[in-house]
Amino acid sequence: MLYYIGAISLILIGMYAVLTKKNLLKIVVGLSIVDSGVNLLFISVGYVKDATAPIFSMPSLTADKMVDPVPQALVLTAIVIGLATTAVALGLVIRLYDHHKTLNINKIRQLKW
């Protein structure tokens, strides 16, 4: 339960950052935090207390002592994707800073209407 609360609060913190911070970098950080929150949440779904990795070659392991491996695999992928997104985002931030000489999102509003 604790994991859930922790992960969800991470997500919320991240979203708060994204929505209220004016600095582009902070927004990107916020997005990353959201990402991490989701990933943690996903991991905790598959978590079983005191269990270990599902290695079938270990005969001592029974099914209830295994964590669900699928979320872990998925999260691994998700982390990679999150990383890629963050990289693109940061690249864009650099580009924006080059052009606008500012990181304030309120000032980067050339495109409206």
Binding site: M15, V18, L19, K22, I27, I105, N106, R109, Q110, L111, K112, W113
Partner: protein, 617 residues
């Protein structure tokens, strides 16, 4: 074997061919178009007036084309006017740019009109309806001027509203009857619910009303007519706007006739038509541009036609259909003569042009016959239709409507006289000394139509024959006529032979008298040689009375003219459009705001998921 698809493909492929011809041969487009139009016209007349059925399956939709007596009448109108319009255009448009474009769209419009009348299913009707709309739109914007574009957009916007109303009616019908076939829908219509019936009929009537420029949906017409090239305006007003009448005929007699509220439909339409006729005439009186004047006149005349249709008696329908044909002819004549003036003087402003009668006598003659016909003065074709209309109004006890119609038809003299006076009579200014008569290819269509209104006036039976058949398609209507005599339901008759004979004899006697009575001494003097209280007018003295010609009448009807639907709609449209501007506050350009929308959306959906999705969290 002549069948509908052959005619349609001749028109549409011919359009493409004309466009191609323009690329390779100088003058190729006009000749190709004229030949195509003539050939298609021949095919239309050769097509048996009942039959030629053709079915085309397009996926889940089946299109059926067939010639009926009703469609044959309109098809002939389209074919003849189309051919004459193109013939007229040959020299009228000579030397202009984008002739391929012009003739292509012209032929497309003609093909689409033929498609409309031959359609036996609602989908192909709508299909061709839309093709007609855009091809005529293309011709309205032909000149490429800012003004024509404004007119074009307006035309298209109203047409789109009308077309979509028709479309809604069609799909509503389909939802009930599971068929697009006209006959099926007509058969099942009386079984549909009252709400459906009202909706379908009002949508269809409004939709077709837009095309036939029924008030208050007419506002597109004056500018669209004014801006389109005159060769096409003749067809536009003469034939294209009649497609609305074609549709209204179907609505009134095929659909509304089977409902309980038939009488309300008819009364509403009749009054709308009557008011259209009157108000449009008033507006025509105050116009100072020939084509705009004719445009309003056209709106008014279509009002008469709608009245006739809406009366629903044999005589009324006969009047409407007769006027449909006659209006096609005489409005084409008038637009063509206005176009001829435009070609030679470069303007259609009634304030600027004057005194062209000696320079363009045949054009004047066309205009003269045109206005006599529009005015409904015997013995030309306009009269007999007016007579039938009044008789029909009387026999159906429309006491006040007849007054409205009568005011309209009397006030029509004002603008008709203004039209012919300003262009052809009065003092001729120096700048028009060089003006010449238009070439034969423009005169031929005008003269042919002139001949037609004369013949149709004296022998209305010739035109009434196909009309009688067409009425048979609309319902079981019987009206009686002989080649030269028309009878009313009250037993009145009008004998055109006697009338034309009397008028002709006396006129000839009078003309002989005035021609031979001291012929030698009679001489022609210039229009500067006039009675001006002893003063001799100099060359530069402006004696033309043209600006604000109908001012006295304008003053009298000023309280009526104060209200303009056009302005109202414009205001409404502009205000509505400027409210769209508030969306600017939605799309702020700030990414964070957009993100906020996303979060808000989630929050709202979660909070209200109970009421929205029926899932209670």
């Amino acid at each position: 074997m002549i069948s509908v698809p052959v005619i349609l493909s001749v028109m549409f492929l011919g359009g493409v061919l004309a466009w191609l011809a323009n690329r390779f041969v100088p003058k190729g487009a006009s000749w190709t178009a004229a030949i195509i139009a003539a050939f298609a016209g021949y095919l239309v007349f050769a097509l048996p007036s009942c039959g030629g059925e053709y079915t085309l399956a397009l996926g889940s939709i089946t299109l059926v084309w067939k010639s009926t007596n009703y469609s044959a009448l309109f098809a002939m109108l389209v074919a003849v006017l189309g051919f004459l319009g193109i013939l007229y255009s040959m020299d009228f448009m000579a030397g202009k740019k984008n002739l391929g474009y012009y003739y292509m769209n012209f032929l497309f419009a003609l093909g689409a009109m033929l498609g409309i009348v031959y359609s036996q299913d609602l989908v192909s009707l709508f299909f061709f309806w839309e093709v007609m709309t855009w091809s005529s739109f293309m011709l309205v914007i032909y000149s490429g001027e800012e003004k024509s574009h404004k007119a074009g957009i307006k035309y298209f916007a109203y047409s789109a509203i009308g077309a979509y109303l028709i479309l809604s009616a069609i799909v509503i019908l389909y939802a009930q009857s599971n068929s697009f076939l006209l006959s099926e829908n007509v058969k099942m219509f009386s079984g549909m619910s009252l709400g459906t019936q009202i909706m379908v009929i009002s949508f269809l009537a409004l939709g077709f009303g837009v095309k036939s420029a029924m008030m208050p949906l007419h506002v597109w017409a004056p500018e669209a007519y004014k801006e389109s090239p005159s060769g096409f305006t003749a067809v536009f007003s003469g034939a294209l706007s009649k497609m609305g009448i074609f549709g209204l005929g179907l609505v009134v007699f095929k659909f509304a006739a089977n409902t309980e509220f038939f009488v309300y439909v008819r009364e509403t339409l009749a009054w709308l038509g009557g008011l259209t006729a009157m108000l449009a005439t008033f507006y025509a009186v105050i116009q100072s541009d020939a084509k705009k004047l004719l445009a309003y006149s056209s709106i008014g005349q279509l009002g008469y036609i709608i009245v006739g249709l809406a009366l629903g008696t044999p005589l009324g329908i006969m009047a409407a259909l007769f006027l449909t044909i006659m209006h096609g002819a005489f409005k084409a004549m008038l637009f063509m003569s206005a176009g001829a003036v435009y070609m030679r003087t470069g303007t259609t402003s009634l304030d600027d042009v004057s005194g062209l009668i000696t320079k363009m006598p045949l054009t004047f003659l066309t205009a003269l016959f045109g206005i006599i016909s529009v005015a409904g003065i015997p013995p030309l074709g306009g009269f007999i239709s007016k007579w039938m209309l009044y008789q029909a109004l009387l026999e159906t006890n429309h006491y006040f409507l007849i007054i409205v119609i009568f005011i309209a038809s009397t006030a029509a003299f004002l603008y008709l006289y203004r039209f012919i006076f300003s262009l052809f009579l009065g003092q001729r200014e120096k700048e028009f000394e060089h003006v010449k008569e238009v070439p034969w290819s423009m005169l031929v269509p005008m003269m042919l139509l002139t001949l037609f209104v004369l013949v149709a006036g004296v022998f209305p039976g010739l035109v009434l024959d196909p009309i009688g058949k067409a009425m048979g398609y609309l319902g079981n209507f019987k009206a009686s006529w002989e080649p030269q005599v028309v009878f009313s339901a009250w037993g009145e008759k009008i004998n055109m032979q006697v009338i034309a004979g009397t008028i002709g004899t006396i006129f000839i006697l009078g003309a002989l008298f005035i021609g031979f009575k001291n012929r030698k001494a009679t001489r022609v003097v210039s229009t500067k040689d006039i009675h001006t209280a002893g003063e001799i007018p100099t060359e530069n003295e402006n004696l033309t009375y043209a600006v604000n010609f109908n001012q006295p009448f304008e003053r009298a009807i000023a309280p009526i003219l104060k209200w303009s639907v056009d302005k109202l709609f414009n205001l409404l449209g502009e205000n509505l459009e400027s409210t769209f501007e508030y969306l600017r506050y939605v799309y702020t350009g700030n990414g964070q705001t957009y993100a906020m929308y996303v979060i808000l959306m989630v929050v709202i959906l979660i909070l209200f998921s109970g009421s929205i999705f029926g899932i209670h969290l």
